[in-house]
Each structure stands twice: as C-alpha cells, then as structure tokens.
C-alpha cells in the first residue's frame, strides 16, 4: 500500500529525515515511536504533502503511484488521512460545511454522487456516535473553542467520515485522558479491515494497548533504527529511549 524508499527531507534547509525505508501492506498497523525531534511528525507531514517540507531524495509510492508529486487534496482523496498533532482552529468555517465538502470531494473523486443533506446528516450522526463525540457541531467553526480532547476526537470523527485507506495518527494520544484514549482507539479499530492500514505515531506505549500494532519502528535522528513486533513498545516503555541513544551513539 505504502512504500517509502530512502526518503530524505528537510525543512528550512535543515535535514530531518535521513533515509527512511518503510513498507506498509494492506491491513497492517505500524507504530512509529521515538524521542522528540527524531522526525516522526516530519514524516507524517511529508506524507500528507505539507509544502514547507522539501523532499531532497528518495521516493514514496502509495497504491502503486508516486505520492510525492501529488497535491495534498489528491492524496487525501486517494485515501491518505493525517490526524493532526495540533488540529488547526478555523474561525468562520462551519464544521458541518467543512466535513460535508470534504466527504463530497472524496465521493466526486471516486465517481460517486454527492450525498443529499439527509444522507449526510445520518452519516454524521452515526460517526459521531462511534467516536462518542458529544460536541455539538452545528453552528460551530472547525475546532474553534474545542478542548484538546475534543479536537483529537474531531480528528477521529473526520477519519471515520472519510474512511481512508491509510490513516496516519500523529500523536493522537497526547493530551488525552484514559477514557478519551479508549474512544479514539475504538474509532481507529472500527476502521480496521484487511484493506485499511494505519501508521500510529506515539511517544508512549499506552495507546498501543488499545490499537495493537503489527510492527513497531523506532525512529531516531531521521532514520528507522529498529523494527520489531509489538513487544518492542513494551521494551521501550521499560527502558526509555536512552538505550537506543547509547546503542546508536549521539
């Protein structure tokens, strides 16, 4: 589904990713862990198509096509979803309009008819229930005035609405209490199928109790330095990142 080969990327002239290799097959869940500044969010943003990140070498294919020369909206419509670490507040853009536009853009891209108002409302209610989102969305602007937890739930709600083939969760667990964490995990797990994959970026092991990964990668100084099964996350939890640092040298 996603194939990253020898990916180098920099921001403001500073090289952050230094040769990433990663293969994700349909149905797999990959966790990416690593200390602050190791390049986790950079990888997520490069995949989603953020402009400030310049890819200097390497290639990424998504569903067999070159991902990197596509606009962010095309990537999204082809099934790539980024759950933002810091969801942006957009005052004046009504939440319902926004998500309706997004859903319909996806449908048009797939050659499907746009949803009627009734169909849309039904879908929205269903998905809000799924992520136990109690925030009233009507008459509210995108993320405006949402609490930290509400913003993260809103990301998962959007994911549930768009049903992406590959979801990238960038520290979706940060700032969540244990109940919210479970809800978010339920939302992600509901999407799990042999066709849907996920990349879960996190600092902590606790999210991985609920979203069980097939692989855990450790990203350090812009490279994947270790890959193993879910037990690696537990090992990290126990030992911290220092052993990686000493093993790989500073």
């Amino acid at each position: 589904m996603l194939s990253i080969k020898n990916l180098y990327a920099s921001v403001d002239g500073q090289e952050i990713l230094k040769g990433i290799n990663l293969e994700i097959k349909p149905g797999e869940v990959h966790a990416i862990m690593g200390p602050n500044g190791s390049g986790k969010s950079t990888l997520a943003n490069v995949l989603a198509g953020k402009q400030e990140y310049e890819v200097t070498a390497g290639e990424v294919t998504f569903l067999g096509e070159n991902l990197l020369d596509k606009a962010p909206e095309i990537r999204a419509k082809e099934g790539l979803f980024l759950s933002f670490q810091y969801p942006v507040e957009i005052p004046g853009v009504p939440m319902a309009n926004f998500i309706k536009s997004a859903v319909n853009e996806h449908r048009i891209h797939r050659g499907e008819k746009e949803l009627t108002a009734g169909q849309f409302l039904k879908l929205m209610r269903e998905k809000m229930e799924l992520v136990e989102m109690k925030t009233k969305l009507t008459n509210r602007s995108v993320n405006e005035g949402f609490s930290g937890g509400e913003k993260k739930k809103n990301e998962i709600f959007q994911m549930a609405m768009l049903e992406p083939k590959l979801a990238i969760l960038d520290e979706t667990d940060s700032g969540l209490d244990i109940d919210a964490l479970k809800t978010v995990a339920n939302g992600v797990n509901a999407l799990k199928s042999p066709e849907h994959s996920a990349i879960v970026i996190t600092h902590y092991q606790r999210l991985l109790d609920y979203i069980v990964p097939d692989y855990v990668h450790i990203l350090y100084k812009g490279r994947i330095v270790k890959t193993a099964g879910k037990e690696l996350a537990l090992e990290l939890e126990e030992k911290g990142y220092d052993w990686i640092k000493s093993e790989k040298g500073n």
Binding site: G49, A76, I99
Partner: protein, 455 residues
C-alpha cells in the same frame, strides 16, 4: 512649483464653474438650501480639493479623480425613463419599500406597499420648498462646511437627494430601500444631498444601493445627515456596486440622542475609488453606535473607510468592525478615530480592522486613533494586515478540499463576522452570496444592468 499651480488650478476649475452656474443653483431652489450655499462655497474656496498633505486624505489622492471634464446638472431635468421599468431589485424576499434616485435627483415613482402614517420619503428639494420647517432645523447642522471641503463642495452645489422623516414612536416594519443610480450620457459630476430624521422612539431599517447603469465615468460626492432621536433605532445598510470608472465620495454624519441605537453596515463590492466618511456623534447618554464595513478590492481599486466616533456623553458605547480583502494592485485604507470628550465617563468603545492581502502588490494602510479626555473609559482597538493562514489552508486541503475552494472558504470565513451583523435576513443571504461570488472572482452583480468591472 508647477505642481502647486496645477493643484490650485484644479480647485479653481470648480470655483469657476460655481461662479458660472451660480444663478442656476439659486434659481428655483428652496431658501433653506440656498441659505447655506454661499458660505459653503466660500469654505470650499478656503480649503480647496484636499491633497495628501491633509492628514484626513493622507491615504487617498482625490486629485486625479477631479481632473476630468465633468458635466454637471444643476436643474431637475424631466424624468426620461421610469427607473422601475429598467431596473428591478432582484433580492428575493427583501420586500422593501423602494424609491430611486438618479444622478442625485429623487425620482417620482411608485413603490409596492405603503409607508406608515406620517412617514415622509420624498425629494429633499420638494420638501424643502413645501415644508421648509422640517428641513431647516437639521440641514447643514452636523455636516460642517468649515472643516470638510467635500461637504463644502456638496453644500454649494446641493439641489436634491432624498429626505426621510419618521415621526415619533413610528416603527417601520418594512425596510425602506433607496436605489441610487448613476446614468448619464457623458462623464458626469453628481452631487447628492440626503437628510434622515428619526424622531424619538422611531425605528427604521434603511437599505441603500449604489449602482451604475452604463459605463460612463462618474464622480459622486454625496452627503447624508442623520438625526436619531431618543430611544430611536436605525439600521443603515449600504451596498456599493459601481463600476471601476466611478469615484464615490460618500459622507455620512449621524447625531444620536439618549438611548438611541444606530447600526451602519457598508458593503463595498465594486467601485473605482470609494471614500466613506462616517462621523457619529453620541449626544445623549446610553446611546449605542455600531459601524461595520467590508470591502473587496482588486485590480487598481481603492477603498478608504474614514470613521470618527465622538463620545460626547457618558455611558455610551460604540463598536466598529471593518474588514477588507485586497488582491492585485488594489489599495485600501482605514482610519478610525474614537474621541472621548471630558466627562464622557463609562464610555465603552471598541474598534477592529482586519485585512487580508491576497497579492504582494496590494497595499493596506490602517490607522486607529484614540483621543481620550475622560478617565473612566474602556477603549480598545486592534488592526491586523495578513495573508491567508497557510496552516488552516493545509488542514482543509489535507481533508480533500482543493486549494481554490479552500482559499474561498477561508476568505468567506474571514468576512463571515461582518456578514453576520446584517439583521435583515433576505439581505444577509444575498450579501452572503455576493461575497462568495466576489471572492470567487465573479462579478458580484446584483442586478441585470450594464455592468463591467473589467474597465
């Protein structure tokens, strides 16, 4: 030196014209208008057409706009066409009481519906001749010719415009709409003089639409004086939709008595140069003044919103929100003065000006100004000039919304706050639509007349 002579010459041209047509101006004009004419002319001679050295015109250069050879019409011509026949306001469900003004002259025309008893909506010239006592008390009282040369020039040439009178405690449920047309066979100078009087407890929603009906060049210098009595309530909506060869100098003076509420809302969609002078004087306690404005500028358009709020009495509040979106080489200005005089304690004054620049060439000048002579007041102001938030844009795009649409959503969102201030629902819906069309690069035409903004 030669520049100075040229500038002086420019004012001389208008001075010479006045002297040439003086008799025409006085002839057949009501005494109440004539009484101010000579003094106004002298005040114009003293001041001339403002240059950029004049602090109030620092950001707007009127001179090139006065260079053209304009035709003036100083006597009412026979009404050639029935405006209702050529123009029909197509805002759905607006259900307003409509009158029209062509080139500054009030048209005798029929409107659907009727006005409440005692309400007068008529030609200023006509009422000034027939019931001068209604006009005399107010005319030229707050639009001072001594300190504003455009007001002086208007008062010197003033012949007609509309007069609106709402008697005590009369509430007009149906909005009143005045459509100002510019339609002349040649390059024309238009002088329009309006007067609005709301007696105590009166209420009205007034909608003013400015349109050009052909592509000739116009300079329109209009002055409106508005008197709002105790407990009276006025909503004053202005839609400016004129082609890019139009210069619109629009001066509005409002005096408010105790417990009155006035909300003005100006939407500048199109025009070559638009200068809105808005001066509010809060002359009674607990009065409330709201001023909202939004402008959409592209190509070489220029919009200057120049506001003044004078808090004369304690316990009043004023609130201003002005927003502009500028593209291409457009230029814009906002100057907002809040003056709290001595003893106007417990004043609450707020001012906000936000601007969105879509190109590197567009220029916005913003100048908040507070003069506070009382000690127990709450005044705040803020101004921003910025570009579309790239983070937000990326967020929208990352959900599959294409860049153009995402930009449009962001621009709409930027203006949303100002659009929402419109209380007449049908008007709000239409303006919402016009905003979207304008931002989308379409001509935000709100009617079917000749209209090209490419010029």
């Amino acid at each position: 030196m030669s520049v100075l002579v040229e500038k002086a010459d420019l004012s001389l041209k208008y001075i010479a014209h006045y002297n040439k047509v003086k008799e025409l101006l006085f002839e057949g004009s009501p005494g109440v208008l004539n009484a101010q004419r000579k003094k106004a002319f002298q005040n114009f001679v003293m001041q001339g057409i403002p240059t950029r050295k004049n602090e109030n015109y620092k950001y707007t250069n009127l001179h090139p706009h006065f260079l053209h050879d304009f035709k003036f019409v100083h006597q009412k011509e026979g009404q050639k066409t029935d405006p209702n026949a050529i123009f029909h306001c197509d805002v759905p469900q607006l259900d307003s009481y409509v009158k029209t003004v062509t080139n500054g002259w009030f048209n005798e025309s029929k409107s659907e519906g009727s006005l409440p008893k005692g309400v007068i909506l008529e030609s200023l010239e006509k009422v000034a001749a027939e019931q001068p006592e209604l006009i005399e008390k107010y005319y030229s009282k707050i639009a001072k010719t001594e300190t504003d040369s455009m007001v002086a020039l208007n008062t010197a040439f003033a012949k007609d415009g509309y007069f609106l009178y709402i008697p005590k405690n009369v509430v007009c449920e149906q909005p009143i709409q005045l459509i100002n047309f510019l339609e002349a066979a040649e390059t024309s100078f238009v002088t329009q003089r309006n007067l609005v009087v709301l007696e105590s407890g009166a209420e009205v929603k007034l909608i003013l639409c400015d349109h050009t009906l052909n592509l000739n060049r116009y300079l329109c210098n209009s002055v409106t004086e508005i008197f709002v009595g105790e407990n009276a309530n006025l909503d004053y909506y202005v839609l400016q939709n004129q082609h890019n060869h139009t210069t619109n100098i629009n001066s509005v003076f409002v005096e408010q008595e105790r417990n009155s509420v006035v909300t003005s809302h100006t939407s500048s969609f199109h025009g070559g140069l638009i200068r809105n002078n808005m001066k509010f004087v809060l002359n009674g306690e607990n009065a409330e003044a709201n001023m909202f404005g939004m402008a959409f500028l592209d190509r070489k358009q220029h919009v200057d919103n120049f506001t003044q709020i004078i808090h004369e009495k304690p316990n009043c509040q004023s609130n201003q929100v002005y927003k502009n979106v500028l593209d291409n080489e457009a230029t814009g200005a906002f100057s907002g003065l809040i003056h709290v005089v001595r003893d106007a304690q417990n004043t609450n004054a707020f001012q906000q000006n936000n601007n969105l620049l879509l190109s590197d060439e567009a220029i916005m000048q913003t100048k908040p100004q507070l003069i506070i002579d009382a000690d127990d007041v709450k005044c705040s102001h803020g101004a921003t000039v910025g570009q579309i938030d790239e983070e937000a844009l990326f967020y929208l795009r990352a959900r599959g919304i294409n860049e153009d649409k995402a930009r449009l959503m962001m621009m709409n969102a930027f203006m949303h706050e100002v659009v929402q201030k419109i209380k007449v629902e049908a008007l709000r819906d239409r303006i919402d639509e016009l905003v979207e069309r304008r931002l989308n690069g379409e001509v935000a035409k709100c009617h079917e007349c000749a209209y090209q903004c490419e010029v």
